[in-house]
Amino acid sequence: MQAKQREQALMDFTKIFLLTAAVGTLLIWACGASPLEAYRLFFHGMFGTFSSFAEIFVKATPLILTGLGCAVAFRTGFFNIGAEGQFYAGAMGTTVVVLYLPDSFGVWRIVLAMAAGFVCGGIWALIAALLKAKFNISEIIVTIMLNYIIINFLGYAVRSFLMDPAGNVPQSAKIAASARLAILIPSTRFHAGILIAVCCVLLIWFVMEKTTVGYELTVVGKNQRAAACNGISVFRSVVLSAFLSGGLAAMAGGIEVLAIQKKLLEGISANCGYTAVLIALIAGNRPLAVFAVAIFYAAMQVGANSMQRQLGVPSAIVNILIGLVVVLILGKELIPFVKPAVRRLKKGGRADA
């Protein structure tokens, strides 16, 4: 039974891969470029130089953390679509603390700033969790709306109280070198934040798979009613998972500020908070799989960027393909090409009926 399932999964994967590759080839060809050359540059972009390879991890870091956040929330049945907003809440919290704490705090300045970001993001997600738990208001709607609020509030902040006094562009003052996350490998952008992300993956994996807390969250996500009937507090679990989820997404924002931008400005998330939803879905909300999918996604983007730079093929093609992959994965039940057996299954019924 299981071997059969694995075989089926492999077949599905192969079909999805082939279909995606075919569509990609078609799109590149339609741009007037040679698909072969494009693919060569695509892979060269990923593995060609050491620094481009390191770039994959740089790009993956925010995706890993926001994806992890979504996975934790989805596992608990809390559909947090607000990773984007929580990312910004975190970026803002981190920036404020890092700018106002004096140099004398040393490395603690970074730790406190990241912690502040975590709490800000957590609280931002908590708003939706409380509205959900107390008034049964859809968390999907609330988190999306909260995204708009915080994104525009950030725009307001960098034009007013957080604006760099020395300049007149809408961005914060530059963060002192001592408060940045260090580059670990010279001549690349491989920074310490990547290690933080990896630690988070391991920690969340441990919490979700090996602890009573993770078990409770999973149970609540599977069946709230059964959880309540067996004495697990649904309210506590949802609140905890929302806070954790928001905090993780916020850390991505903090790292982006402290390692990449070195200041706060608009649009720094590059929509990773929305991509995170896809990543968590594809990864089946499993922490280790989130890591793998985020790396894969980042690699695709790095490759596509190199393709665009050198051949003029729009990197948007990758987004089209990723959208296609998601639709195929989520919709494979409906597509006879992927599952010709649907009709037969429907007629078959269940053995114990």
């Binding site: 078990y215 059964a226 009937c229 009926a353």
Partner: protein, 507 residues
Amino acid sequence: MAILEMKDICKAFSGVNANENVCLNVEKGSIHALLGENGAGKTTLVNILYGIYTADSGEIRWKGRPVRFDSPREAIQSGIGMVQQHFSLVRRMTVLDNIILSLKSNGFVLNRKAAAARVASLAQKYGLTVNPITRIADLSVGERQRVEILKALYRDVELLILDEPTGVLTPQETAQFFDVLRTLKGEGYAIIIITHRMSEIMAVSDRVTILRDGRNVADLTTTQTNPEELSRYMIGRELKQGDTPAATAHSGDRLTLNGVTLAARHRHGALCDISLCVCRGEILGIAGVEGNGQKELAEVITGLRRQNVGQITLDGRDIGRLSVRGRYEAGIAYISDDRQNDGLLMGMSVCDNLLLREFRRLPFSRAGVLDRRAAVRSAENKMNTYQIRASGKTGVQTSVGLLSGGNQQKLVIARELTENAVLIIACQPTRGLDIGATEFVRSLLVRERNAGKSVMLISADLDEIMALSDRIAVLFAGKVAGVLSRKEATVQRVGLLMGGITEKERA
């Protein structure tokens, strides 16, 4: 000549034979009972007839012509109707609209007046009284069943299939229902009735076909048989009569409810001034037609819902303000009537499900870190002790959704019956189980009782209540209609209380 002949019907689901060369002949103007344990293949057989499944092989002849239905719609058009165990009515629509729903003959503009007239004449003729303009949601279960039958009759069926029709009815409603069936029979309708209650078969049917493990085992004329013979055919052995020994002397109250009231959230199912006690070493049966507050009673005791007024004590300790978890830790175990929603996580493994109550304790976790190996070891033990059968290869890692109903229920019971549990709230614990599993579950409840624990057995199955309980309380409309000792409780008296007729009113 038979109006319906089913010959050598075979149907397998992923390699498991649900029907193997099953034959069934039904005469016009007769009531034909289909008897068998759960999983014997009764429902599969009628689902094939009704076009829900397609047979792998075999022949169906309807009025002498070979037929094959690909959907219920085709079956209905040919004159075969079915009332399923779970009704398929639209709750928010009226009786009339439900009856004429999806009829081709409606045309584009509905003629409700003509339809209402026809429904009224049908209802009159067969004693199926029901007001056509009430909404389904406002009807009792018995009335809904009448609507289902009217719906079939309105479509001019000649054969009516009834899947476990009496499970939800009071004894009085059942008697009325049988009168309707007899009238229909007199009018020349053929009726197939699926049931597992011997008394009903003896009372109403003309012929009985018995299935076991997907095969025909007997085809009998009802007047020439008796319940003992039927049960022997059905399970291959004689059925043990209610031989549970009476409880030894009870020693004091364990659970007491004092004036417990639960305000109605909707119109149904509130509790009104409930005062009850369950003693140590006692099974208290809670009888009543479903929807009279049984579920609410269980939920108030287990802490899922908070009473508005009243006191609940367990061994003298006030537990009224404790959480579900607190009450479990105080010793209340809960076997819910809705195991798939309340009791189990269908997508998770046997092992994870067994862990659901005890995961915070040693040896299953230490300082918040789970010990999966201890959980697996304990789960393997419980699977052995409670005879939970899962696929051999995956064992305790089998997904609960793949287990049969009986094994799912055993799993819930294995989890709930810990040493710590002193009071077991068992809500419909044998619903949907076959006879083997039912006996096993009942013997476990008796075992717990004999070990000095207390059981509150909430069941719509009166036979079960009568067979196991030391005392019987009857719920009606959220109130205790009466409490009877085992000796006082006759089916007649309990049945009247279930129908809301208290002793006083009769006098």
